[in-house]
Amino acid sequence: MNQQNGGKENWATRIGVILAVTGSAVGLGNFLRFPGQAAQYGGGVFIIPYVVAFLLLGLPIAWVEWSMGRFGGARGYNSAPGVFRAVCGKPWASYLGMLGPLIPVVIYMYYVFVEAWCLGYAWNYLSGDIQLGDEPEKYDSFFATFVGSGKDGAAFTADGTQALVFLAICFVLNFYLIYRGLNKGIEWFCKFAMPALVLCALVVLGRVLTLGTPNPDLPEQSLVNGLGYMWNPVHQAEHLAPGDKPIKALAQRSTVDAISGFDDSDGYLTFNIEDEPAFAWALEQAEWKPKQARQQQSQDTVGETGPTDQPPLAGRFVHDDSQAVLQINGGRAAFLGLVDNGDALMPHDVRDEAVEMLLTMIPVQAAIADRDERTLRGFDIQDADSFHAALTATGWKGRSDGLEGRFEHKKSRLILEVGARRAEISIPGFLQSLANPEMWLAAAGQIFFSLSVGFGIVITYASYVRRDDDVALSALTAASGNGFCEVALGGLITIPATFVFLGVTAVASPPGTFGMGFVALPSVFNQMGILGPVFGFLFFFLLFLAAITSSLSMLQPAIALFEEGLGIGRKASVAMLGFITFAGAMFIVYFSKDLLALDTVDFWVGNVCIYIMATVQVIIFGWVLGLKRGMEELDRGAEIRLPRFLGFLIKYVSPLYLLTIFALWLKTDLPTRVEAVADVEEGQMPVVALSLGLIAIVLIFFILIINRAVGRWNKQEAAQKEVSP
């Protein structure tokens, strides 16, 4: 129990606590991850599972955390272990809350580094150092140098000095604010930072919504089409740039032959080829040959038809020593294997798998029964309008005149027949896209991570709310504030702006949260003209504000545990936490190659642990505290009436929903992550194993602290019983 401060710390204002919780939730994910996820899963259709997850998962867990936090706070506990003890009424329950302080503290270790990137980028826009011209590679290189992703220890060389300086600034700022206390530090800062964040976002949004069509030579790269890419229920062919001649369909059922199904005598695949030999190798692995080349090949000597004889291709092809990636307008194939002067060293079965990957990732799936008929030529079109509309929808931009045969267009199916030959192309429609289980998983994950439920932060924040103060409306307000930043701001800025300036290729396969934010968007701001740097500064400054209001919240749970568990003051708590987080952050900063340490810690703590924590919380609320008491607690002081079926949701639906997505998600990601532990390059440090070691050390540390706290709390309770038997 918090004897040290006598339970005096409280939020000063209602708005203050709401802004603090909203600030904790709003982060980089709102402006970078959400738009990327929505675009990846077909645009507007993503919003449906997103809203369902918000209602069935996000909001119920948020209410659980707020009410449990206030319940514990009223009994003198502010940390998750203390709150769990109060809710369960058992000393051992404190250990169930061990993830409460662990999660935010470990996340802080890398999050503060990312926060430093945001501040550093904002500063570089002010100083003009990030105006790198039109070549995207330069932004990639700038980012790699800034964060030191080229090699371990890069941050401690002359090139990495800048990141360290900004890291130091962020560290000092965070600890200064946390040292000032709850309302004079966190609350005071959030009262300014959150409105400033929204203001910056609105200014950037205003610019994005007035972009129009900045390049008259590329009329399809317009704002309306950019918004369409983000919000249309399924992606449309209109988003293709002129000159792009994608072959999306007409693939064989056989996976390998599927690639050779990309036909085109008119030269359909147009690629910017930077490394022709490697590209030719990748195409060869895919067994793709243009029709002309095939015809030529039948006449010429085998092997003489080189890549230069092929029609131009549109898309992206990149490779390094171990992997080649072939991307065709959103379709993407990763060819795992070595590229050695164009010689194929890839095993056949791996190749088949890679080709299948390309096929499944192409938005429009297709199949043709006869492998010899791979072209639309020779069809007689009865319904020309539907046929052309369907072809356009599939991305087909080749000639369709002179086609013979039968064409039938049934909603999402395009059927082409010539005699016994039959081609059937499935176009994922709205309902078909909606039936994609991966999308539901991604939406649930996005809501979960975005609302910051399961972090152990809201429990601590809510513990400082008075016993009879409302939590129902406050939780809803904080959640809707986060949703507003995500949907109304992030959803209208990132993808549309990137689409308008960089085209469909840049958004079809988003390069991840960091790639989108720190590589693609700087390139976008560069093309915004004379005011580009201003908008670049505003955008990264708002990211910095979003990050610092989140990182700040990550420190309070551990501070609360130190204060009430060890009986030490804020100064000592801040000093102890400062040492721990500094050591951890230096670990993350040092092992910066490919951001492997950051990624590993993010997966195991920032993903796995918060799922576990959220599940434990919901089960404790619904099954240990009990629905009756739980709902009474939630209703106390409530300024809105919560629906009665909320109890059913919390007790049954939310845990099931959580466990299901957790299991599916682990099934997808866990095997790779486990393999990564042993995957150590010769002469390199086992970074993944070391990162897990770091997490284990912090966990043991907190278990020891909790052990000490439990002893202390037991003594205090015993003393209280003696005083008032």
């Binding site: 204002t13 103060d469 504030g481 204060e563 300024e639």
Partner: protein
């Protein structure tokens, strides 16, 4: 951009904005809500006590 796209965008953006607006209205306008407000001077963090 398709008509469905416009509808989804307007519903999503408008819905989330309206929800936030309603919440803020409730927080600000609920009678007695000011009773929760008090001076920060009443709640001095222990940083000053140390």
């Amino acid at each position: 951009m398709t008509v469905t796209g416009w509808i989804i965008m307007i519903l999503a953006v408008g819905g989330m904005t309206a929800l936030l607006g309603w919440c803020i209205y409730k927080v600000v306008a609920t009678p007695g809500s000011t009773a929760h407000l008090h001076s920060s001077a009443d709640e001095t963090p222990d940083v000053e006590e140390d």
